[in-house]
C-alpha cells in the first residue's frame, strides 16, 4: 500500500514539474468561454506520456491508500470512502469490470467523441444511482483519455459527498446560485482527469428555484464544454420532479433499476415520465443483479485476473 502511495505521489510530482504548477480545475472564469485556455486533466496527462502510461496501468490505482495528495485535491481516504465505490476499493473485482463494460458501451455509443452530460436516475430511491455515478465516473477516468466530472444533482438527498467523505459545499447549488466559483466547486481528485462536483448546501424551499431556472441550464452547458463526460447523480424520477426539469438539458439518461426490488409498473411509469419530458434514455443499468453461483463469467474472470 505504501509503495502504491509513493508511486502516486511521484506521478503527481512529475505532473507538477511539467506544468510548473499543481494540477487544478479550470478557471471558472474561463469556463464561460468553452474555447478559452482551460487546463484540463486530459491535457495534463496527454502532455506527460509517463503519467498516461501510469494511469493506464490498472494495478496501481486500486491500492491507493488513505493519503492526501495535495491541498487542492480531494482527500481520498480509504477509510472514509464508501466501500460501495468498488472502482476504488476493488479495482479487479467483477463488479468493477462490469462498470468498465458499461464504459465501453457508452464510448461506443458516442463515436464522435462529443461532450456528453448524462443523467443517472432511477424510479425509486436507494436503487444505486450514486454508487453507479461514482464507479462509472472513476472507470471512465481510467487511462486519462476523457475529462470526467461527477456531479451530484440530487439536492434533497445528496450522497456523493458523503460517499467520498468530503464536505458538501461548495457545490452545484452554489454554482447555480453564483455564490461559488468553478475553481472552488469543481474539485480535483487524485486522478488528474476526474473532477467532483458535490450538491452543495440547499434548503428545501430552494429546490424548485435551483433546478427550474436558467442558471442551472447554463451551469450544465458550461460543464459540458469543460468535460468530455459529466455524470449527474439525479434524484428518482417517480418521487420528485427535479429530473423532469434537469434531465431535458442533458444529452441522455441512464435508468438504474434494482433487480428483484423495483416493481415493473413503477419502472414503466418512470420511463413514460422521462419520455414525456423528451429525455433520451440511453439505456438501463441493472443493479444488484445476482448471477448464478459459479457463473462462467466470474469463473473465467477470476481465472484471468488472478493469474498472478
Amino acid at each position: 500500500m505504501g509503495a502504491m502511495l509513493k508511486v502516486m505521489q511521484k506521478m503527481k510530482a512529475k505532473a507538477d514539474d511539467n506544468d510548473g504548477a499543481p494540477a487544478a480545475p479550470a478557471d471558472p472564469e474561463n469556463t464561460a468561454a468553452p474555447d478559452a485556455n482551460v487546463t484540463t486533466p486530459a491535457d495534463e496527462t496527454a502532455s506527460n506520456p509517463e503519467t498516461t502510461a501510469f494511469i493506464s496501468e490498472p494495478s496501481l490505482s486500486a491500492k491507493i491508500s488513505a493519503a492526501t495528495i495535495s491541498d487542492d485535491t480531494i482527500e481520498w481516504n480509504a477509510d472514509k470512502l464508501d466501500p460501495a465505490v468498488v472502482a476504488f476499493h476493488e479495482r479487479y473485482s467483477a463488479v468493477t469490470e462490469q462498470y468498465r463494460s458499461l464504459r465501453a458501451r457508452l464510448t461506443n455509443m458516442n463515436p464522435e467523441q462529443k461532450h456528453q452530460v448524462i443523467a443517472i436516475t432511477s424510479s425509486l430511491p436507494q436503487e444505486g444511482k450514486s454508487v453507479t455515478t461514482l464507479n462509472l465516473g472513476m472507470v471512465m477516468a481510467e487511462g486519462g483519455e476523457h475529462r470526467i466530472l461527477i456531479a451530484d444533482a440530487d439536492f434533497r438527498r445528496a450522497s456523493i459527498a458523503k460517499m467520498l467523505g468530503i464536505s458538501q459545499k461548495p457545490g452545484l447549488a452554489e454554482l447555480i446560485r453564483g455564490t461559488a466559483e468553478y475553481s472552488e466547486a469543481v474539485r480535483p481528485t487524485h486522478l488528474p482527469n476526474l473532477k467532483v462536483l458535490t450538491a452543495g448546501a440547499t434548503k428545501e424551499k430552494d429546490y424548485g428555484d435551483l433546478v427550474g431556472g436558467s442558471a442551472a441550464r447554463n451551469v450544465l452547458a458550461n460543464l459540458s464544454v469543460q468535460f468530455d463526460y459529466v455524470f449527474l447523480d439525479m434524484p428518482p424520477v417517480n418521487t420528485v420532479s427535479d429530473v423532469s426539469m434537469l434531465a431535458p438539458h442533458c444529452h441522455g439518461a441512464l435508468l438504474v433499476i434494482e433487480m428483484r426490488r423495483t416493481p415493473e409498473p413503477v419502472v414503466q411509469e418512470a420511463v413514460r415520465t422521462l419520455q414525456t419530458t423528451n429525455v433520451k434514455i440511453l439505456g438501463c443499468l441493472l443493479s444488484r443483479h445476482k448471477r448464478e453461483r459459479g457463473h462462467y463469467y466470474e469463473r473465467y474472470y477470476s481465472y484471468y485476473y488472478n493469474r498472478e
Binding site: D82, P83, A84, V86, E90, S93, A94, V95, Q98, Y99, S101, L102, R105, L106, G128, V131, T132, L254, L255, I257, M259, R260, R261, T262, P263, E264, P265, V267, Q268, V271, I281, L282, G283, C284, L285, L286, S287, R288, H289, K290, R291, E292, R293
Partner: protein, 586 residues
C-alpha cells in the same frame, strides 16, 4: 423441423432454468413450506387409524396313497379341499364361526348349519366392522399333495386380529378333518357299490358261460381248435373204417368169385358120392397153417433172439398178432369141420370135392372159412362205419355251431375275466380304504403342521411408513411449490435483463452485480443469524414429527415413551392440558 426441435429444446431448457432459478431464489420459502406443512402432516399422521395384522402359516400334507386312490377311483377328490380353501377359511360361514369362537358373536348367534341368514350376516358385518377385521388366505406353496397356507388377518385391535386368525385356522383344520371323513365314507360306499356291481356281473357271466358249456357236451367251447382237431380225428377214423369196409367187401367179393369159379365147381360135380366122400383138405390146411405158424414162430424167435427185438417192438407185436391169428384160424378150421361132420351124414359138395380132389376141397374150405370170417368182419365194420358216420355228423353240426358262437363266447369269457379282475381291484381298494378308516388317528388322510404361529405385536401394518412419508413430504413439497408459485406470481419486480428489455423496450447496457460492501455483508449476516435458528427449528420440527410418525408405526412402545415424555415436558412448562397422551391412549 430441426429449427422447431431446437426451439422446443430451448423452451424446455429455459423453463427448467427458470424453475431452477425460482427454486434457488425462493428456497427459504420452500423450506418453510416443506417444514411447516410436512410437520403438520406428520403430526396428524399419528392419529390416522391403524391396522394391525396377524399371520399364521401352516402346512397341509395329504396322504399320497389315499389321495391318489380317491382321486383316481372315486367321484370324490382332495382337489375339492384345495379349490375351496379360500371359501373354507374366509367365507361368511368361516368368519362367523371364528367370530363365535373368539366371542365377537354370541354362541347361539348361528342357528343355521348352512348359509347364514340375513340376520346372522348383519350381526357378522357389525362385529367385523367394529374391529375392522379382514382375512386373507394365500397359498405360499402348492403341490398336489402339499400346501403351505398363509392366513392373514388385520384389524384395529392386534389381539383380536391374532385371536381371529387362530380361530379361523383351527376351525378350518377341524372342518377339513370332517370333510375328509365325509370323503372317506362316501368313497367307501362307492367302492362297495362297485364291488357289488362287478360281482353281480361276474355271476351273470359265469351263468351264461355254464349254459354255453352245457350246449357243447364233451367239448370245450372256448377251444374251437381242439374241437376242430377232434373233428378231423373223427373224419380220419371214419375214413379208415370206410376203407376197411371196402377192403373187406373186396376180399369177400374175391373169395366169392373164387368159390364160384369153374375149377372148384367142376371138381365137385362128376361124382356126387366122391364129393360126399372126398376127404377134407383139413390135413393140408392144417399143415399149411401149421407151417405158417412154424414159420412165424421161427421169425419171431429170430427177431427176439437174433435181432434182439423186445416184446414191445412193432414187428414183434405184429408177428405175435399174426401168430395168434394163425392159431385162431387153425382152431376155427378144426371146429366147423368137426361140427359139419357130425351134423351132416350126407356128403356135401365139399365132401364130394374132398373125395374127388382133396386139395381143392381144402382150399375151398379155407376160402369159405375166410369168407365167413370176412363177412363177420364186414358186418362189424359196417356197424362201425354207421356209428362213425353218426358221430361225425353230430360232431360236425356241433362244431359248426361252436364256430358260430365262438366270438360271443370268447367276448363273454373276456368280459367275465375282466369283471373278475375289476371286482378284485375294487375289493383291494375297499380293503385299503377300510384299513385307513379303521385307524383311530384323527389325522387320517391329511396332516396339518403349524409352521408359524401368529405373534403378539403392536406394530401396525397399515398405514405403511413409506406411505406416510410419501404423503406427508408430498404435502410439504406441494405447499412449498404453491408458496413459491404464489410468491412468483405476486412478485412484479424485474428478474432478468431480458424481462427489462421486453417490458421497457430499452437496451440494458450492463448488469451490475451485488456490491460486497460491509452493509451488504452485515445484512447477509443478520439474515443468516435469523435464518439459522429458524431453519434449525423448522428442520427439528420436521424430523421430530417424522420420527414420531415413524415410531408410531414401527415402534409403538418407543412412540408411547416419547409421547409420555413430551407430555410431561409440556406439563412442566405450564402448557395447557395436553392432548398428546390422551390421544395416544385412545
Amino acid at each position: 423441423m430441426a429449427a422447431h426441435q431446437d426451439r422446443a429444446l430451448d423452451d424446455l431448457r429455459n423453463n427448467l432454468h427458470e424453475y431452477a432459478r425460482m427454486l434457488r431464489r425462493r428456497w427459504r420459502l420452500g423450506l418453510l413450506g416443506v417444514c411447516v406443512v410436512g410437520s403438520v402432516a406428520f403430526w396428524i399422521s399419528q392419529y390416522v387409524p391403524r391396522q394391525y395384522g396377524a399371520a399364521t402359516i401352516f402346512e397341509r400334507r395329504d396322504d399320497v396313497v389315499l389321495r391318489n386312490l380317491i382321486h383316481a377311483n372315486s367321484p370324490y377328490s382332495f382337489e375339492q379341499l384345495k379349490s375351496s380353501i379360500k371359501l373354507d377359511m374366509t367365507g361368511s360361514r368361516a368368519l362367523a364361526e371364528a367370530a363365535v369362537s373368539i366371542g365377537l358373536l354370541p354362541a347361539d348367534a348361528l342357528t343355521s348349519e348352512t348359509a347364514l341368514t340375513n340376520t346372522e350376516m348383519r350381526q357378522l358385518s357389525q362385529a367385523l366392522r367394529q374391529y375392522d377385521l379382514t382375512a386373507r388366505v394365500s397359498l405360499v406353496q402348492s403341490s398336489p399333495s402339499l400346501d403351505t397356507i398363509e392366513l392373514r388377518c388385520s384389524g384395529n385391535n392386534p389381539e383380536v386380529a391374532r385371536q381371529f386368525v387362530i380361530a379361523l385356522r383351527d376351525n378350518y383344520i377341524q372342518r377339513t378333518y370332517s370333510r375328509i371323513s365325509e370323503i372317506l365314507t362316501g368313497t367307501r360306499e362307492f367302492f362297495e357299490q362297485e364291488v357289488d356291481r362287478f360281482q353281480a356281473r361276474v355271476t351273470d357271466a359265469s351263468q351264461r358261460l355254464q349254459e354255453q358249456f352245457d350246449q357243447f357236451p364233451g367239448v370245450d367251447p372256448s377251444d374251437p381248435a381242439s374241437a376242430g382237431t377232434r373233428l378231423e380225428t373223427l373224419r380220419g377214423e371214419h375214413l379208415r373204417l370206410t376203407q376197411r369196409q371196402a377192403e373187406l367187401e373186396a376180399q369177400i367179393d374175391a373169395r366169392e368169385r373164387f368159390l364160384t369159379s369153374g375149377a372148384l365147381t367142376a371138381a365137385a360135380e362128376p361124382e356126387p358120392e366122391a364129393v360126399a366122400e372126398a376127404p377134407p383138405a383139413l390135413p393140408e390146411t392144417d399143415s399149411a397153417i401149421d407151417q405158417a405158424i412154424k414159420q412165424v414162430e421161427q421169425q419171431l424167435a429170430d427177431a427176439i433172439v437174433v435181432k434182439r427185438m423186445t416184446s414191445e417192438h412193432p414187428e414183434v407185436l405184429a408177428m405175435q398178432r399174426k401168430l395168434e391169428n394163425l392159431r385162431a384160424a387153425r382152431d376155427a378150421a378144426h371146429t366147423p369141420l368137426a361140427t359139419a361132420r357130425a351134423e351132416t351124414a350126407k356128403p356135401t359138395a365139399t365132401e364130394q370135392l374132398r373125395k374127388k380132389d382133396p386139395v381143392m376141397a381144402g382150399q375151398r374150405l379155407r376160402v369159405e372159412l375166410e369168407l365167413d370170417s370176412l363177412r363177420s368182419q364186414l358186418a362189424i365194420a359196417n356197424r362201425h362205419v354207421d356209428d362213425s358216420q353218426v358221430r361225425l355228423s353230430e360232431f360236425t353240426v356241433l362244431y359248426e355251431r361252436l364256430l358260430e358262437n365262438s366270438d360271443d363266447l370268447r367276448q363273454l369269457q373276456d368280459a367275465t375275466q375282466q369283471d373278475i379282475a375289476t371286482a378284485g381291484v375294487w375289493r383291494q381298494h375297499l380293503s385299503q380304504l377300510e384299513r385307513v378308516m379303521a385307524a383311530e388317528s384323527e389325522q387320517r388322510g391329511t396332516q396339518f403342521a403349524l409352521l408359524e404361529e401368529p405373534t403378539e405385536t403392536t406394530r401396525a401394518i397399515r398405514p405403511r411408513a413409506i406411505s406416510i412419508f410419501v404423503v406427508c413430504l408430498g404435502c410439504g413439497l406441494a405447499a412449498a411449490a404453491l408458496m413459491i408459485a404464489l410468491a412468483e406470481l405476486f412478485d412484479r419486480s424485474f428478474r432478468s435483463a431480458a424481462q427489462v428489455t421486453r417490458s421497457l423496450s430499452l437496451p440494458v447496457l450492463e448488469c451490475i452485480g451485488v456490491l460486497n460492501t460491509p452493509k451488504v455483508q452485515r445484512r447477509q449476516f443478520l439474515t443468516r443469524l435469523a435464518w439459522t435458528p429458524a431453519m434449525f427449528i423448522l428442520l427439528v420440527s420436521l424430523f421430530g414429527t417424522a420420527s414420531l410418525a415413524y415410531a408410531s408405526l414401527e415402534r409403538p412402545d418407543l412412540h408411547r415413551q416419547a409421547v409420555t415424555r413430551l407430555d410431561s415436558a409440556l406439563r412442566a412448562v405450564g402448557a395447557p392440558p395436553t392432548f398428546l397422551l390422551q390421544d395416544s391412549e385412545e
